[in-house]
Amino acid sequence: MSNNKNATMRVRLPVNICFFTLLLAFVGVVNIASASRLTRPSLFLMQLLWIFLGILLVLGISFVRTRSLKLIAYPFYGIVIFLLLLVFVVGTSAKGSQRWLDLGIFRVQPSELAKLCMVFATARFCTDYEVPGGYRLRDLIRPFNLSRPIIFSVAVIFLLVTNKINTYLPFLGEANSAKTLLLVGGLLLITLLWFFLSFLQLQKEGWHIYQAVSLFDVVFLPFVLILAQPDLGTASIVLAICGSMILFCGLRPGSLIIATLFGICIAIVGWNFVLKDYQKQRVESFLNPEADVRGHGYHAAQSIIAIGSGQVLGKGFGEGTQTQLSFLPENHTDFVFSVLAEEWGFFASCIVLLLFLALIIAMLKVGARAQERFASLLVVGAAAVIFWHVTINVGMVTGILPVVGVTLPFVSYGGASLMTKMVAIGICTNVAIWRRA
């Protein structure tokens, strides 16, 4: 770190990344112009304005030192958590979920910010908390952190003070029965044992912040808050991004297997108890889109028809019947790839996908050349943001994945989504520029 002061800023923007990004943004403008040709003909101008603002944002981020980005990681995290909580209090609902914060001049979607803040927070956490040989599952969860028995004992005390244990657990029978006493005694014993184990860990490892917080906590807090909005698409993207970064840092094989099994269990439990009906319907309609063509499978089915009917060379700009006759839903935002595939055909779709691939690989190359763990992880996170958005979006419009509201980076219309991805690009340019010479 001694050379940090000597780090000279060599103004050499990574040209390939910028080129790919602008090309993709241009593809977006063309398709937005076609999709909104008859309904809102000036929409592509708005998108051009957003792109211009995005470029400014990229430049802005590029000139901040990478070290400063490391410093703002946790404060940024804190602000986003606050905003996510605020959404539940004063948020604006849209389509059955609370996602927006109205700030008067413009609206903020904290879950969109969360994708970015998680890149920063995860990168920061993984930089500071390193386990040689790769993380084990218990390094990620840290079950014997002191915070765990404290929270548990608070819950137990709450049960005892309110004396409502019999109300919550009716099978125990009458209050103060032998069963109840046995249970309370058992709970107290577990609490004591847990405290004991926590102190053992404390003695062994000494005091540090990770005795209170684990990576698991950092990731799960925003995840749960977004899931509760409810916004399954963003929540799963957040999880995927963080997961990718942790995986990149290194997870031991045994832990990987257990984590996978655990994930499957969670999916089963989640399907039965957590997912809302509309989310289940989306998944069901994904598994069998033809069964419900007029209902929830409608979007998926129409999107597939649009893509398939584009065939090799497409129907031409402004000639896509699925797009122009509004059979394709939300054709300038989530389903913009279907517009592309319908009007420009298979080859153009492949070219756009290859552009994304080139962009992601260029980003990873920047990461590979970074000198610091934090910078590397930041870039990997940024690449993960782009990768997961493209995969989930194209996956859902081609019927490989269920329909969740995820946009296609740089191509879909929308300021919030574009800004997020521009920040990701900004991270890469930043790291590329501030790389030690």
């Binding site: 893509i307 398939g308 065939q311 090799v312 290859l354 990461g367 019927g399 490989i400």
Partner: protein, 725 residues
């Protein structure tokens, strides 16, 4: 370097793999399945509207129209547009700015008053504002809402208006239906069922669509309703033009012509080119020639967006091109071989209650008349109020639904002797000079069969045997032939199999041979063929089979397929197809032998013949006179089919002394002229007793019509020159 290059390389491998999968998916969707999805996208935006056309007409052979189409008017009701008293009340309540609670209360009052038929005026409220009062007054007057009263009592200087309503006078659905009923001049009971069935169709979203209320309303009612609609008196009611099939001569040839009916939901699944509500031929010509008569609907295609709105015409041109409109192909017309005069004569002259008459052109197989009794009126069957008629017809023991000419089989009785004789010649057992001695009884082993003439006919050859209808001669001949040889010739002549007539549900009858008995009874006894040789026993025939077989005997040995349609014409009246006689089989034997059989049949109405009584029928003096004086000789054969097996001694019972259902069936097969037959007529009078009495007069009457009105006139006499080129 915090992470190794290798790690980034592996990380980069993941997006490569994933995007490859996506590209494979795109390849599958866009290239492998591209055509399929292209069609799918087209069916998304292409809406098709059928262009209707009329069904082909059906004419008889001289060109008289038997079936055509007439304009009709169907009545539709859109429930959502009907007046609603609760809505009206709410509307006025809102104008008066009443609270929603008050409006609810008024709604309850209205409901109560309607239930109790309370005709009192109910207070809506009092208003102080002159403006609102005049506004309400305007609404009430412009929308002609009855049952709302606005009073302006003068109380001091302040303005005040009082609004009251009468529950029974407010415009309501019931009142609208009542007005409609009066316009249609229907009784209350009849009308109620229409209202309930329409209400059923109008549930849910159906209330916003016009629902078919009544088909084919009378023209006077149509005129009254149209007048009321144009005055805006009955909102939600509309009439639409439609086309109804018309059977011009009502009952005439009903079984041959058949009728149309609405296609069922089940049939729609297999018949893809039909739409709900369309009609399809159910019986007779209408069914068999459905394809020709129906033609093909045209299609107009246009472009719609996702909400079903029609899109711009310019796009329609580019997307759909020149095949946007496909013109309909109108149905073809049919010229039947039926002759109006002969058909009318058959139906007029038929004496029994049930049975059938068939007239065949000798040497072609074309059917000049085909009647089955009792018949029905196809117009009534497809009419609106047909339930009673249909159930009465289904319960009728005389089975009016059945076309007895092709769907019913009977023992042929003595008419079969001619066939036995032909079989004898065919197998060289019989020669013109083969004589047999009729002693009045035929012995076979211990069994014996009686000739109807107890004293016997003495030594007799085939012509005399046919003339006198000697049973013994044919017992013996049949025995010599055996069952298989008799069945062989009979089957060649068309018995025991379908004739192939262009009518539906023809049955084959039974022509037993040895195998038949072995299958049915497990054994064969030589006596069976003895019975069959005179048309008793197990042998059964349909009237059309008998007509075809006699045609073959008379025309020199060719078995023709019977046909009802002579020509198919297009909508302009140009001939598209002319049906030719279709020969199915030929008899081997010489025409000389067949002439002998014909000779044996020629004396049936001569003095001494079995139908000679017809020459002096006191109940048919004109016919008898014509037969005696015209010089026309009718040949033929009587036949009696026993319905109830009685003892052999009393073979034929006096028909007047037996209950109707136990009387014998009466056959008569006649032809004329005797020397060179042109027409062969089969009449079967069910339970008619003796053929010569019950059935022969029908044949005679038709022959008379043939000579007086049909013969030599040629076809198309009623057609304009331009119709057939």
């Amino acid at each position: 370097m915090p992470f190794s290059e290798n790690r980034f390389f592996i990380a980069g491998f993941i997006p490569v793999t994933v995007f490859l999968i996506i590209i494979v998916r795109l390849f599958y969707l866009q290239i492998i399945r591209g055509d399929f999805y292209h069609d799918r996208s087209q069916s998304n935006f292409i809406q098709e509207r059928p262009i209707n056309h009329s069904r082909g007409m059906v004419l008889e052979q001289s060109g008289l129209v038997l079936i055509d189409n007439r304009p009709a008017h169907d009545l539709y009701v859109t429930f959502a547009l009907l007046p609603d008293n609760r809505k009206t009340l709410k509307q006025i309540g809102q104008l008066m700015a009443l609270s929603s609670g008050k409006i609810k209360e008024l709604d309850q009052n209205l409901k109560h008053a309607l239930e109790t038929k309370d005709a009192r005026w109910i207070e809506l409220g009092t208003l102080k504002s002159r403006e609102i009062c005049s506004k309400i007054n305007d609404v009430v007057e412009t929308e002609s809402i009855g049952g709302v009263q606005i009073d302006e009592p003068i109380q001091g200087k302040t303005y005040q208006c009082q609004i009251r309503f009468n529950a029974l006078q407010l415009p309501s659905k019931d009142a609208a239906f009542e007005r409609l009923r009066e316009l249609l001049e229907f009784s209350k009971e009849d009308f109620a069922s229409y209202v309930t069935s329409a209400q059923k169709k109008a549930q849910g979203l159906g209330q916003f669509k016009p629902v078919l209320f009544m088909t084919d309303i009378p023209f006077e009612a149509y005129a009254r309703i149209e007048a009321a609609v144009s005055l805006g008196l009955i909102p939600g009611v509309a009439t639409f033009d439609s086309v109804k099939r018309r059977y011009i001569y009502d009952n005439m040839a009903s079984h041959a012509l058949g009728y149309l009916n609405e296609i069922s939901a089940k049939e729609l699944r297999t018949k893809i080119d039909y739409r709900p509500g369309q009609r399809i031929g159910r019986k007779g010509i209408e069914k068999v020639y459905e394809k020709e008569l129906r033609g093909q609907d045209g299609v107009e295609r246009y472009v719609v967006d996702a909400k079903g709105r029609r899109f711009g015409q310019a796009w329609e041109q580019t997307l759909l091109g020149d095949d946007r409109i496909e013109a309909p192909k109108p149905g073809h017309g049919l010229i039947l071989s039926l002759d109006y005069e002969l058909q009318a004569a058959a139906e007029r002259a038929f004496l029994g209650e049930a049975g059938s008459v068939i007239a065949l052109e000798v040497g072609t197989g074309f059917i000049l008349a085909l009647a089955s009794f009792p018949n029905y009126n196809p117009n009534a069957i497809v009419a609106r109020d047909n339930k009673k008629l249909l159930s009465a017809m289904s319960k009728n023991p005389l089975k009016p639904w059945i076309n007895k000419a092709v769907q019913e089989h009977y023992a042929p009785g003595s008419t079969f002797k001619a066939i036995t004789a032909v079989a004898g010649f065919e197998h060289h057992i019989l020669t013109p000079s083969t004589h047999q001695n009729c002693t009045g009884v035929f012995h076979l082993g211990r069994a014996s069969w009686r000739c109807f003439k107890r004293e016997g006919h003495g030594r007799i050859e085939v012509v005399s045997a046919l003339k006198t209808s000697c049973d013994s001669f044919f017992y013996n001949l049949g025995y010599q032939l055996g069952p298989d040889r008799l069945a062989f010739t009979a089957k060649l002549l068309g018995f025991g199999r379908k004739t192939g007539i262009d009518l539906d549900m023809e049955i084959p009858g039974i022509m037993p041979d040895k195998d038949f008995y072995k299958k049915r009874l497990g054994y064969y006894a030589p006596g069976f063929v003895v019975n069959n040789s005179i048309g008793q026993g197990e042998v059964t025939v349909t009237p059309i089979q008998l007509a075809v077989a006699y045609d073959a005997i008379l025309n020199g040995g060719t078995i023709y397929k019977p046909q009802l349609v002579r020509e198919i014409i297009n909508v302009q009246g140009e001939r598209i197809e002319e049906k030719k006689p279709v020969a199915i089989a030929h008899l081997k034997e010489s025409e000389e032998n067949l002439r002998l059989v014909k000779e044996g049949l020629a004396y049936v109405m001569q003095p001494g013949g079995t139908a000679s009584g017809l020459l002096w029928r006191y109940d048919l003096p004109e016919l008898s006179k014509w037969l005696r004086e015209s010089g026309v000789v009718i040949g033929g054969k009587t036949g009696t089919a026993q319905v109830v097996k009685l003892s052999k001694a009393i073979k034929h019972l006096d028909p007047t002394k037996v209950a109707y259902m136990q009387r014998d069936h009466a056959w008569f097969v006649g032809f004329a002229p005797v020397d060179n037959p042109e027409i062969v007529i089969v009449t079967m009078t069910e339970h008619g007793g003796f053929g010569g009495t019950a059935s022969a007069p029908v044949v005679a009457e038709m022959v008379k019509t043939w000579y007086q009105k049909v013969r030599g006139k040629g076809r198309y006499t009623h057609l304009g020159v331009s119709l057939v080129k």
